[in-house]
Symmetry: C2
Subunit: 483 residues, 2 copies
């Protein structure tokens, strides 16, 4: 007789083990405070919660790119395509684009399941977009369209991980999707540490060391995860460094899992995004030389369409039999959502010079990216001005990952509160200011160092006020705990 059959002791222990700090306890507390503020605006020393915990631009008032949304709306309701009022409400090229997309969809049916890998015509468009970006050919059959990048990452982990003996090399700090997915699939995360002192640089000697160490413990390392531009660390890899990584994977027989979702988020003139595929091909390495997966998402970039759940992975260097297995995994979930598929085709093939929407598209894109660059710089400077804080350069992505040297009394107080020191700091920050950040312990960090991840996404006209609140909090915190 078990009227409540499932208890915490009888569920899958891999689920228990998995952690996802980006939506962890600090965020749950923030949601609680938000409810309290709604019921009583004077219940806390601030008016509102500022979510700097997650790369979710439109939740902080970033507006979508008009052209993209026009096309999506027309594809949702093609009945209005031929109407004269539509020509007043929508740009001419969005009408044209929507018609072209509908022509690529069998039966023009945006409400039908597509091919498991995504609509072929949209994959053709994306393939052309990647070719234009990299200068190397792309086979549309190498593309798997997915509901954002996360399901694609899960699919690869599911394919590669057989047991705890299988290891995946991951950067530390890392985006916790990777640790969560590896835990859920029962594998072992083999950490390699990014060098904070060298701008979160990636050293092949460190990769080699960790690989050997894992091997000596009987771990079979199967793949290397690289996040470029970096999350949470914001660095953009140099091409020379990328070449070393490609050679390392080739030499060691590792699948290179390249998280390239921030490819459009580069803010400094001395760095440029190069895809790992471009780098590998420019080294003369083809399908036979290296197995490579590139993840892309519509959630990031200047578009920031997180809620649309669109994305793709490009897989190269896998045998036909393996590809069949990946196809089967994709088929079990039938297909990714069609709006997300359409949007993925749009971000990889936006309006071109001469198109009716080009000028407004370019102005919107440019406004977002240049504002993000300014916000990153301001916040970086502010963090670096705080006592005990040193902050990496924000070269790309959407985050800063400042290190905070906490006074001993703060470490003791955290210990007493049974929480990690950076979680202690983040909780205090939230309670004092309404600002939500993620403790560095959620991403991994060198033992004894403490960080927070803070997005650069709050609206530009509020950055100064945020910096004021942050500075006031930090000063008071240090005053309270200074030894």
């Amino acid at each position: 007789m078990a009227s409540t059959p499932i208890t915490i002791d009888t569920i899958n222990p891999k689920v228990l083990e998995c952690e996802y700090a980006v939506r962890g306890e600090i965020v749950i507390l923030a949601q609680k405070i938000q409810e309290e503020l709604k019921n009583n605006p004077n219940s806390h020393p601030f008016d509102e919660i500022l979510y700097c915990n997650i790369g979710n631009p439109q939740s902080l008032s970033q507006q979508p790119i008009t052209f993209f949304r026009e096309v999506l709306a027309l594809c949702d309701h093609p009945a209005i395509l031929g109407k004269s009022e539509t020509r007043v409400l929508f740009s001419g090229d969005s009408i044209k684009r929507a018609s072209q997309i509908l022509d690529q969809i069998p039966g023009r049916a945006t409400g039908a399941y597509s091919h498991s890998q995504g609509i072929k015509g949209l994959r053709d468009t994306i393939a052309a977009g990647i070719e234009a970006r990299d200068g190397f050919p792309v086979d549309p059959n190498d593309l798997f369209l997915t509901d954002g990048a996360s399901p694609a990452v899960h699919m690869m982990m599911q394919l590669l991980i057989r047991s705890k003996k299988d290891g995946i090399l991951c950067p530390i700090p890392q985006y916790p999707l990777y640790s969560a997915s590896i835990a859920l699939h029962g594998g072992t995360l083999v950490p390699y540490y990014l060098d904070e002192a060298a701008g979160w640089g990636m050293e092949v000697s460190e990769l080699q060391k960790q690989l050997e160490s894992a091997k000596s413990k009987g771990i079979i390392v199967r793949a290397l995860v690289v996040i470029n531009p970096g999350n949470p660390t914001g660095q953009v890899l140099a091409e020379k460094n990328q070449k070393e990584i490609v050679d390392f994977c080739k030499r060691e027989g590792l699948v290179l899992l390249a998280d390239e979702v921030y490819q459009e988020n580069v803010y400094v003139p001395d760095k440029q995004f190069h895809s790992f595929k471009e780098v590998a091909r420019s080294m003369g390495y083809g399908d036979k030389d290296i197995a490579l997966v590139s993840f892309q998402s519509v959630s990031k970039g200047y578009y920031g369409e997180c809620g649309k759940r669109g994305g793709y992975m490009e897989i190269t260097g896998f045998s036909p039999e393996i590809r069949e297995q990946i196809y089967k995994l994709a088929s079990v979930n039938l297909c990714s959502n069609i709006s997300g598929q359409i949007l993925a085709s749009l971000v990889m093939n936006p309006p071109k010079v001469g198109d009716e929407s080009y000028d407004s598209y370019f102005a919107e894109k440019n406004a977002i990216l240049s504002s993000l660059a300014r916000r990153a710089q301001k916040l970086e400077d502010a963090f670096n001005g705080l006592e005990g804080v040193s902050c990496n350069r924000a070269e790309g992505a959407m985050y800063l990952f400042p290190r905070i040297v906490l006074p001993n009394k703060a470490l003791e107080a955290a210990k007493e509160a049974k929480t990690a020191p950076d979680a202690f700091y983040a909780r205090r920050l939230l309670n004092a200011t309404g600002i939500v950040v993620v403790p560095g312990s959620g991403f991994g960090q060198v033992d004894g160092t403490w960080h927070i991840r803070c997005t650069i996404l709050p609206q530009e006209d509020r950055i100064s006020a945020i910096i004021t609140r942050l500075t006031k909090f930090h000063t008071e915190f240090m005053d309270e705990f200074r030894g």
Copy 2:
């Protein structure tokens, strides 16, 4: 030196083991033939491929419900909401509904990640819709919005399955999502057989027998899957039968996983859909008595919006600690797509009598459902008219699952071709007619019986032609192989 690090022998064997016939070898062959027809219209003895393998109504020209698409389009491009042309193009209540929905979304941001369980306001709407359907209260915090029902099923399997020792009771025949998901999560499918002679009836004595048999092998059975209306079997459970199932789960301490995605697809006047939650609550069983999960999807019903990937699960009877774990699993993938979330709220709260769109909405819905009922009847009759074929009554869902008694010579030919006899039949049918069905072996069946699953979805004006093609093929097939 491994230049191709991953081989079929070194991937996760659970992936190899998993099967998904709905998009299996017959469908891959169909896609190949479709390409051949495109290049040479005379390459096969038919003009086009007719996909009867999958419940994908809009791929066979079913039109979406206008009101739903109006609201989706307006939510995609809210900039046009206030324009006078919009009032010409869109119904008044779709404009009103879109505005209401946008008001429920924090910052009106349809491009932002939502709460991991889905937008709270939309969950409120869905909760009210379930309450109106069942007459029992619903807590919006019990709802998890998902990209169709499949990810929800995976989430529950991931939670419940620890190892091969954990069993999930599944109907045979079953929808292969269940066998695939159980295989991928490394559990054991414990089959219970539906009784074909009793209209695919479900007997508690069979459940009990299979449960005991599994227990005797050391399997810990954790949950029971029920698909109602049935897939692939099309039966609608009687309420009395549902009560027995609820009592069985309560008594045995099993989680009841109720696949209720065909709740709007009932075609016979003597049967009615009742949710398992309604049945359990009407028996006086509450949260403390039974753990129950109901899956719903926007892909089925009269709406058939497969490409939108919307759905939800309602979970009741789980402790707060377990719910936290489910929340964490949902969080790892951030959220389901917002258009799918909006659509889920629309199907659970469609236009009401008196709303501007009600008449056209009702006419569209009624036309689809009554046509499906006629098509089901015609195909059922046709199958029953074929030599050696007996077909269940199409009470609900979107499928017929006729049994085919194949002549011995056909069984021998199949053996020679190293394929299951029903797959042999399905392949022959495809090659002769272009009609794509799924072999019964993809769903499971009593040993020595052979079936095919055929959807009732081809356009009504083509059903007669399909029946003619099918009959001609079947007659020739039997003539060829009759002993």
